[in-house]
């Protein structure tokens, strides 16, 4: 690990000022950034501790949405009664990730920013375009059982690891950020970037910008929602595949749906095409299967991860089935 300066900032303006200089990085829960630093994958000269900022609130908004501060701990968000009631898929997604200890440290902002678990990214003796732009991608011709099948490029096939983000993608959350030039609101779909030719660029956030909060829009039918995660062990493991779904069922017909997939995409993967397929169909296996086929239409397998295409479909069908059965 490279030596670095550590500073604590009292408020958002101070955080933004400190962020612009000295290759600084924010540290929130530290559960990802410290690992990356220890392995010399990230080498900030300065760590800016933002834990004193007052971004800890979960507020119910007039419009029925919820505003989540960037420093809200994953555990606090998952167990928040309004979240559990209005957005069960988000609560379930968070609780399916990591371990209680990690969730007690991890923050909403940090989770949005967490980086891939592609094993080659973590091993500095391998080529990795994400870690060292232009060095190549060891995963494409290597061991890629855990890598992505959607949104990949010839330069990177890294899976986005977050569970929380899959649920937020389904909900169409909005990420609010603040930088030297003021505030911005970034729709969830625009926040994470596809790897393309620049896999080292992962998100739509400038160096001096701080995530201040995330707004979950009102979505009444999200009360009927679910997150399902399939993994190699029962807990404390990233997804092979996962699905976050919400269904608006009225009079035996799906009026509207939300579908997002995890474990398969290079970013949290919302499938609007699958949502459209579901709309107007009855809530049954045939409909769900059709949606699943649609969601995975563009999937591109590699040597070890072709199974993800079938598994993702089954995961989605199961998640929709379970959601459809919620009374």
């Amino acid at each position: 690990m490279q030596p670095f300066k550590y500073i604590k900032v009292p408020d958002t303006p101070a955080a933004i000022r400190a962020a612009g200089i000295n290759q600084a990085k924010f540290i929130a829960g530290g559960t990802n950034v410290l690992d990356l630093m220890k392995l010399d994958i990230e080498k900030p000269r300065q760590l800016v501790d933002i834990n004193q900022l007052s971004l800890y609130k979960i507020e119910e908004l007039q419009n029925g949405g919820i505003r989540v501060g960037a420093l809200v701990k994953n555990s606090d968000l998952a167990y928040n009664p309004a979240i559990k009631k209005n957005y069960p898929l988000l609560s379930e997604a968070i609780l399916s990730g990591a371990s209680p200890q990690l969730r007690n440290m991890a923050t909403t902002g940090g989770n949005l920013m967490q980086r891939t678990r592609c094993p080659y990214f973590y091993s500095t003796d391998f080529a990795c375009n994400k870690r060292v732009p232009g060095s190549g991608c060891a995963a494409i011709s290597g061991y890629n059982r855990m890598n992505a099948v959607l949104g990949t490029s010839d330069h990177c096939i890294a899976t986005h690891p977050s569970d929380m983000c899959v649920a937020m993608a389904a909900l169409g959350a909005v990420i609010h950020v603040q930088g030297a030039k003021g505030t911005r609101a970034i729709p969830f779909a625009d926040f994470h970037l596809l790897p393309g030719q620049t896999p080292h660029l992962e998100h739509n956030l400038k160096a001096d910008e701080l995530i201040t909060h995330v707004e979950l829009p009102p979505l009444a039918y999200a009360a009927r929602s679910h997150y399902l995660k399939v993994r190699d062990r029962a807990s404390y493991e990233f997804a092979l595949t996962s699905a976050a779904v919400a269904l608006d069922i009225q009079n035996g017909i799906i009026k509207a749906a939300r579908v997002a997939l995890g474990g398969v995409g290079t970013k949290p993967w919302r499938s609007i095409a699958a949502e459209q397929v579901l709309t107007g169909l009855p809530p049954n296996t045939a409909s769900y299967q059709k949606a699943a086929d649609t969601a995975m239409l563009d999937a591109k397998p590699n040597k070890d991860n072709a199974y993800k295409i079938e598994l993702a479909k089954r995961t989605l069908v199961r998640a929709l089935t379970t959601t459809g059965e919620i009374s």
Binding site: M1, Q2, P3, D40, R117, P119, Y120, Y122, S123, T124, D125, F126, A138, S141, G142, Y143, R145, V230, R231, D232, R233, A234, S235, Y236, E237, F238, L240, Y307, K308, E310, L311, R314, T315, V317, R318
Partner: protein
Amino acid sequence: MNELTGKPIDRVDGRLKVTGGATYAAEFPVKNVAYGVTVTSTITKGRIKNIDTGAAGKMPGVLGIMTSENCMQLHFPAGSDPGAGKYAEKDLLPLQNDRVFYGGQHIAVVVAETFEQAEHAAAMVKVEYAEQTPVVGFEKNALTAYKPASGLGGAETQVKRGDADAAMQTAAVKTDATYTTPVFSHNAMEPHASLAVWEGDQLTVYDATQSVMGVKALLSAMLGVPAEKVRVIAHYIGGGFGSKGFTWANPFLAAMAARQFNRPVKIALARQQVYSTAGRRTQTSQKIALGADRSGKLLAVKHATISETSFVDEFVETAGVATPMLYSSPNVDVSHELVRLNRGTPCPMRAPGESVGTYSLEVAMDELAEKLNIDPLQLRLINHADTEEQKKKQFSEKSLKECYERGAKAIGWSNCPAKPGLTKEGRYLVGYGMATATYPANRSASSAKATLFADGHAEILCGTQDIGTGTYTIATQIAADAFGLPVDKVTVKLGDSMYPKGAQSGGSQVTASVGPPIRAAALGAVDKLITIAIADPGSPLHNQKREDIITGNGRIFLKDDANKGEPLVAVLSRKGLDKIEADAKTNVSTRPSLPAPAPAGSPEAKTEEESKTNMAVQEDENTDRSAYAFHSFGAQFVKVLVDPDLGTIKVDKIVGVMDIGKVMNLKTAVNQIKGGMIFGLGMALMENLQYDPNNGRIVTRDLVQYLVPVHADIPEIEVQFIDRPDLYISPLGARGIGEIGVTGMAAAIANAVYNATGKRIRDLPITPDKLIV
């Protein structure tokens, strides 16, 4: 008197461990210690053209950088017996030349004032390589397989009985399939660590090892330091599972650097380095053919294993080791072949051989049962080996049939669906599976010293170690019984090469090996005390007969008249003695040959001399064992629930009934078996050390990528013991328990998954992707 052995007493070191009071190798508070961090190779094969340490060497706090160009020369160690010290990579002594044989090999050590400084400087060392094309990929290189001359300690690797090929021709029912297992890592919680201190020409190394005696012998031989000038200490070890049985580079690098930079040096490996430099279980491909008559009686068993080893040593995973013995069959053919790859060297890992071998053999038995349309448990009974047919010996004690019976009852074997893939509980497919567990009972020559002090407490010294299994506790129970003292009056000291030579912690042999000399030494000390009392007119036992006197409750007294006697300490105080001590060595070994007697004049020779008059030793050594084969057995039963759509497996219940001789302590025994079963569950369902298919370096090199079971994976586990003492292995009757829990478990799970789904996965681990195709 036998009051404490067998009792489920709490671990005597439990409090120390949970309060942080137990000191592990890297934790000894040595003054002025410097930190060593190794630089590891980033190529898989080749030569180091240049190591540029210029910039790194000038970084703050750096004391120096040790490379092959400036480090001391090492001598080649002799011998390969792990008990006497086995250097794991005989053709790759640390830093002795410029060659690279695998990715992540130690090539330099940066020593600095702090860990952070050393670690940062290590990243700044620039290495230039002349890279060569490595040999990568196990399957790809299977054709290069050769037959090794022998396995560890001269073990036979090619075993034949009768004519298996001919018998196979005549068999009415046959199976023939290949089973593959990936590389597994021990993943001991404590990474390998060594702390070396020179005081003049005296070297002390605090080491995470399963063999203080082995490390001492190797340090002496390889550094060229007289053995009496080397001391190795390992009071507590955070698990080894075999990875700390052989000795790897770490203690040498620490000792070399400590000498070179004239400071105590501590080296604790990073997890990534443990994966690359400190052993693993080899990958295997096992072809098993079984032939039986219509009644299910085995006529032929063929078990051909290919595994891999490195270019710097030869380790054979003897997957077929139990095959000639496990079932009755007139014809057996077991072979082992090796492929060399540019990987770090494999080594024993919890039940080396049996773990992967019982996976394939016991799945093959399940496949045969299905073809025969015979219940898998019934097939095992039909082929039960009443004697050890390969060695033509009796089993010293075998209650396997009882294990099957009790296990079947506990799991509810009668619920096992006869046809696979059809039975559901709710959404889940239900399956039951079983397998036989087996592990040899080993024992080797060991010594101990017992001392009774005038203040009434006793002490045992033994140069074995407690790698987390409970040896401190069991040794305390044994000694307390022999002294007739309560547990809290007995202190057991282990893990120091200054103590009398104890067994290496491997092969499930520690209790069987060190238990008898500990008992004998304690009985010897009591005997000396009684002799003094009988001769002492001041003693109430003056002129009594030796055989009429027994011990208990801290006293010696007449068997028939407990009132006639006195406290142990009274004898000492009357004589003005501050202590009385005895040494004992039991020269009993389950290996083919006994070690040579100790050199004349050595402390060990004195112990051998004293042991000649120790009744317990004599009785033990004079037991005729020649007619017996020593093996533990067990039956593993599993119930699984499989999600048919998602391929996820939930192990719902595990039952193991073990026949391991006498249970010395029910708590530590259950703990060992459960731990072994969980080890086996990991092996069956998730563990998998992956190498890059292109350059052969390890890909899944941390605990995020290499999965081990977590609590949520573990169901209710029921462990039962037959608890029948095996008095041929030792007077204590205990056969050892550390490894057998792993064996059979992967097969029982694989068989249960088959029973649930009708899918026979012959390639571990069984993950959802394999079940949904």
